[in-house]
């Protein structure tokens, strides 16, 4: 399959979660509290895409899936897309654009603060995601895009601080993130990457 086709297919797959939500919404299959359901779903998909983005490098190096690297930017942008939906639902359907109340929420509630921070940190990455910007920033681009390690961490905390008693799900995301980050620390890099001949 050509890379253009792979990209096309990946693009459609990345859109699938939101399309499923739209269909379920209009078929009244999101349960008694559909707004809560779409808030949680879009938030989880944002987090999932942040983690998928971090999987591109290991997938390419460990499994030899070179095409994964070519999709990395798309995954990152989809993380932003789902984060935008998540935030828009909060601002509109949860707070109804009550700005003073929203501002209080951001100040008072750590899980909102941290979620908002994660969203704001995504913005410079989105703006500098083009080829032209990569060229222009040179080495600084790589440094700036290390934020991609910090943002999912904030996302996991945002989720963790929201749940009432059962932290199993945010814990699972946290463990996946931890493994993905450990693969990149210099001490453990060898353990994950050495096995592959010619992968460096």
């Amino acid at each position: 399959m050509s890379i253009a086709r792979i990209k096309m297919l990946a693009f459609l797959l990345c859109l699938l979660p939101v399309m499923v939500l739209v269909v379920q919404f209009f078929q009244d299959r999101l349960g008694a509290n559909p707004i809560e359901a779409i808030t949680h779903e879009t938030g989880e998909w944002a987090l999932r895409f942040l983690l998928i983005t971090l999987m591109a490098t290991p997938a390419s190096r460990l499994l030899g899936w070179r095409w994964a690297m070519r999709l990395r930017r798309m995954f990152g942008l989809f993380a932003f897309f789902y984060a935008c939906l998540h935030l828009a639902i909060y601002l509109w359907l949860d707070q109804f654009f009550d700005w003073p109340e929203i501002w209080l929420d951001i100040l008072d509630r750590p899980f909102i603060t941290i979620g908002m921070l994660a969203f704001v940190l995504l913005l410079p990455l989105v703006v500098t995601s083009t080829n032209a910007m990569m060229k222009r920033l040179g080495k600084r681009w790589k440094k700036l895009h290390r934020l991609a390690y910090v943002i999912p961490l904030l996302g996991v905390l945002h989720y963790w601080w929201l749940v009432k008693a059962d932290v199993l799900e945010p814990l699972i995301y946290g463990v996946v993130l931890l493994v993905l980050l450990m693969m990149r620390t210099t001490g453990l890099q060898g353990m994950f990457y050495k096995v592959l001949p010619g992968s460096r």
Partner: protein
């Protein structure tokens, strides 16, 4: 010495092993079957019938939440932490036969069958608002009787300052208990004057029928001016105690869930606001009312108390 201390005097080895207990049940059932008694309605698994239901006091005339929503959107961690889990898993609970232990500072302690508990009480319908601590609400037509009537029957002593409730603990019937998300058995409590308030209901049904398992069959508490988690489900023990009980949620988050847990838009949950709520089925959020709109009946219970401290 408190009731709780006494419980600790028992060793793990004092408990009937579950296997033996199961065998006993099987043996008893076999005996009943052999004697040809299984056809008798009052024995074994006969479904509770509610009989005549009178319209009760204090009902709201707000639009009732559809039965489908009341029975498919539940926080009942004994069947799983997702709100759709109870509807899926609650069939594993067997609400009949059922018995409730009444103990502690009371003149007539003992283990009573559900039928014994219900017999003298006339059932009435109470359409109450229910406000969840998570920020959503429903309007539910409960069927039940005032807890005060039950308390009077069993005659608590003067030492009984609080009443403590426990939910069934049984991993086979309640698969959510395999993980210790909360401290099992689920425990809740009320101050005696709160328990005696005419609003406080022991519910055995909703929408004119027996309680679905996911809503706390066969008998549960309904305290409409407190957040939903105070209204403990599937009750097997009612204890009259001298000291303030510690509920499962207080143990899970002492800074977040207090003993009183009155609905109060002025006291936020440490992690989210309680000013507004989404009534299930509605698009716009509505303002949360003090004591969930029952201030007229219950505000006097808390005069002089700092409700920010006693959250």
């Amino acid at each position: 010495m408190t009731i709780i201390k006494q419980k600790n005097d028992l060793n793990e080895s004092d408990v009937t092993p579950y296997g033996v207990y199961q065998q006993r049940r099987t043996f008893i059932k076999a005996g009943i079957a052999m004697a040809g008694l299984s056809a008798l309605p009052s024995l074994a698994t006969a479904k509770l019938s509610l009989g005549k239901i009178m319209p009760g006091q204090y009902s709201t005339d707000e639009e009732k939440t559809p039965l489908k929503d009341i029975t498919s959107y539940n926080n009942f961690y004994e069947f799983g932490v997702d709100k759709s889990d109870p509807a899926r898993n609650a069939h594993k609970l067997n609400p009949a036969p059922w018995s409730v232990t009444i103990d502690g500072e009371v003149d007539k302690p003992g283990s009573y069958t559900l039928e014994d508990i219900l017999r003298p009480h006339a059932l009435e319908e109470r359409i109450y608002r229910l406000r969840c601590v998570e920020g959503w609400s429903m309007v539910i037509p409960w069927v039940g009787f005032p807890l005060a009537d039950l308390i009077k029957r069993f005659q608590p002593t003067s030492k009984a300052k609080y009443i403590q409730f426990e939910t069934l603990e049984d991993k086979t019937q309640m698969p959510g208990q395999r993980r210790r998300v909360l401290e099992w058995p689920y425990t809740e409590g009320l101050r005696m004057d709160e328990a005696m308030n005419p609003l406080t209901l022991m519910a055995v049904g909703l929408y004119d029928d027996v309680l679905p398992n996911q809503n706390g069959a066969p008998i549960r508490l309904v305290v409409p001016w407190k957040y939903g988690f105070k209204s403990i489900k599937s009750i097997v023990r009612i204890s009259f105690v001298e000291k303030q009980p510690v509920s499962s949620w207080m143990k899970a988050g002492p800074k977040e869930y207090g003993f009183y847990s009155n609905v109060n838009p002025g006291v936020p949950h440490p992690r989210w606001s309680q000013k507004r709520e989404r009534r299930i089925g509605e698009f716009r959020k509505r303002k949360t009312q003090m004591f969930n709109g029952y201030a007229e009946q219950v505000a006097s219970l808390y005069t002089g108390m700092d409700l920010k401290k006693n959250f």
